[in-house]
């Protein structure tokens, strides 16, 4: 059975970096509508910094990789997403410290750890129109698929779909956190940029899960 090992994380970060680079302008444009327009820059530059650091540490084990990623991302972007993703990665590192290498079909635990890190740092609630509104349902979908004993490729598909549905659902929500909160009801009808980039990252995770499952 395939494992969530250091190659898994290297591949995930690499793929997410490429996808976020492709999404750079789109995320900035989304953010410009309800925020300050820097989200694409933060995410693309931040993941590029992670990718650079990880390439410089090819021998790092997963928990160490995630600590390096947290540090690199935070130092590169600061901003709002810096502390949030840094906390997410540190939470995953703590999970791996405690549990050791996980089998591939437990990737839901990685998503849950991210959600926990983000929630603890950002203090957002579900429905606040934040990235949490994608990480939580995606993690839940992965756990449900694991309970139903589905093959990993199918789990990946269901999780990706859940993330994309949740991403689109953020349009119906009213911002109560961050800069967009100033817009109150005017934020309805706009996707949350943090939710959109979360779906990009989760999509990358799911694609790597599917790839390794075959």
């Amino acid at each position: 059975m395939a494992q969530i090992d250091k190659h898994f994380f290297a591949d995930v970060f690499h793929l997410a970096t490429a996808r976020l680079e492709d999404s750079r302008q789109m995320l900035c444009r989304l953010d410009g509508e309800i925020g300050d327009g820097d989200h694409g820059t933060s995410m693309a530059n931040g993941f590029a910094a992670i990718d650079r650091v990880l390439r410089g540490h090819p021998d790092a084990e997963p928990p160490e990789m995630l600590r390096l990623a947290a540090q690199a991302f935070l130092a590169e972007v600061g901003a709002t997403v810096g502390p949030l993703y840094a906390s997410a990665f540190l939470e995953v590192a703590a999970l791996l410290d405690a549990r050791g290498p996980l089998p591939l079909r437990e990737f839901g635990a990685v998503l849950s750890a991210c959600a926990t890190g983000i929630a603890q740092r950002g203090k957002a609630q579900p429905g606040d129109k934040t990235m949490l509104d994608v990480w939580l349902p995606a993690a839940q979908a992965a756990h449900r698929a694991a309970r139903d004993d589905l093959p990993p490729a199918r789990m990946a598909t269901l999780t990706r779909n859940a993330a994309e549905t949740a991403r689109d659902e953020t349009a119906a929500l009213m911002s109560t956190r961050g800069r967009a909160a100033r817009l109150q009801e005017r934020s309805i009808g706009h996707l949350d940029p943090g939710a959109v980039s979360s779906a990009v990252i989760i999509g990358a995770i799911c694609d790597i899960v599917a790839e390794r499952a075959t």
Binding site: I34, G37, A79, G82, P137, A171, R179, R182
Partner: protein, 699 residues
Amino acid sequence: MSGVRRRTSPRDSAPARPPIRFGDDPLLWASWLYYQEGMTQGEIAEEMGASRPTVNAYLADARARGIVNIAISSEHMRSVTLARALEDQFGLESCLVVPSHGGARSLIDKVGHAAAGILPMMVHSGDTLAITWGRTMLSMAQAARLDGLRDVTVVQATGGTTAKIPYSPESCATRLADNIGARCVPISAPAIVSSAQARNMLVQEPVIAEQLTYLSRLDRVVFGVSSLRPNSTIHSSGFFDSALQQHDFYVSAVGSLAGQFMDAQGAPVTGPLSDRFIGLSLDELRRVPSRMLVAAGVDKVQPILASLRGGYVTTLVIDSDTAAGILRTLDVRLSRYISSSRDKPDTPPDETTEAPTRNLVKKFLNDPRDVVNEAMEGALAAFPDHIMAIDDSVRAIGARTPRPQGKVGVVIGGGAGHEPAFLGFVGQGLADAVAVGNVFASPPPDRILTCTRFADQGAGVLYVYGNYTGDVMNFDMASDLAAAEGINVRTIRTTDDVASSGFEDRDARRGTAGNVFVFKVAGAASARMEPLAEVERLTRKANAACHTIGVALEPCSMPETRRPSFVLGAQDLEFGVGVHGEPGVQRQKLAAADRIMDEVCDQLFTAMKLGTGQRVAVLVNSLGGTPMIELMVLNRRLQQRLNACGAQAHMTLVGHYCTSLDMVGASITLMALDEELAALLDAPCDGFAWTRNAVMKQA
């Protein structure tokens, strides 16, 4: 209409000539008398010396020829348009949208009364009708009046609740039945019982079983929907208190309908409560022939949308803002953003077509990713007497001025893009160090920590920065790191932006140009060698005294995208903007400078309760693209208004202090002063954006 005046025209039978102003046009004359003067057709006939049928024909003709246009007020017109769109989108039998604004009634009562108004079209003799619970349902039930119906039965849609709320299932059903002369059938059991076993026993109780049979033969159902947001009444309803603790289970639920949970697509979310519920199930509800949802408030967009998607609704009564929110939500497609991206054109770039670059803002840039570092290098070279790089990055910048032992350190910081803020306010009598982030993005904790170590002279360090989610997280992390090194750090988050508070409190406000005064007070207090607690107190007081409102005429554009951050129409301005190119709180029509300033003054004066004899410090600040000449025009009116209010400008700053890249617009900051704050503002300071020599002022 009270202004009906008789004209002194001759009352003979010959047709009278219209007064000259009607240009010999009887149609215009007749229309004027009818629509403007409010005369009856008979009176007009007499006035014009024509027959009534002629007048009637004139009026019809006037409409046909476009002399008279009947306009429905735009707010009501919008409601009808929205209703049509919702009917089309969801295949509703009917939809009624009531304007969200105007009138004395609360939003809940507006939709409640509107729903009561259409009950006569919905309920007929012999009908069995179920009603759920909630504030909207109670409002509707209270307003409902139906006479002359026979054999109508109103059934409680779910069991009851123990909570003492006025809008319980029992009261909603009873009230509706009373007001429409119907028989009321209660459900003599709680909506949620303690176990599945208890439920199965209860529903077999003859009385309850009999009551429940009504729910299986309903002709109509009227229901509300609740969100699961923290402010929702569902949390005080007594229905689910223990269940919502297990919210994990319901993480996919977006709303509650008739006491049951559903997801964003309207599918029932089952959980530990599902087999303990007594009442109309969602499946049964969907089988009722006529189903009216009554709901109001933009926080319910998601649950209303779920109800519509789930097919629970045939008739919808809703307010206009919420209706618009639903339609905007449906309109969102991610592809819209991807397809509008010109960074990867589908067609090969053609040198002759200018279109792709037309909307790019011109800027002095090299690689846009280097803009902040290059700007800092330029600033360090320009102001070597004021600032210096603390480490080998150019993002942690310190003051050149000596930092005596025992002086409280003042560290400021935030995103780039606000130049000359924040580094222009580092220097003697101002801040000791500044951490610079990316454009509009907080600096990371390690950089703030570098600044903290630099500023610390053994007496502790005060952080002063704008109250933004990102800055708060990064500075808090830095503060933890500094504490671990034994540096005592206190924090003041600036919250001067009046417009950003909404209905929330002062602590939720953002920090904008008022930062400048707050930095000054912190710097002056620390230069006096006050202890940390005193510097903190004075700085907190300074922040509480500052009030700012920003107005944008054009959006700003980020160096990386070079595109406007939002779209503002040719005749629009954005009221209540912050300093990050984010849209403001309200879009308005462009007006004369004095009128814009009047509105700013009205809001600021009210917010700070400005009165006679009050001294204020004034900052008329460009958001980047507005030139000095216009700032001075604004200041003229501002000073007039201060005079009219009896207030006195103790100090006035006009210029670029805290900008938002190239945004065209200005912000106005007023700081209420007492002796203590005035003295601190008057103290000398020397930053490259604000130099003030010792002033010899007469008392």
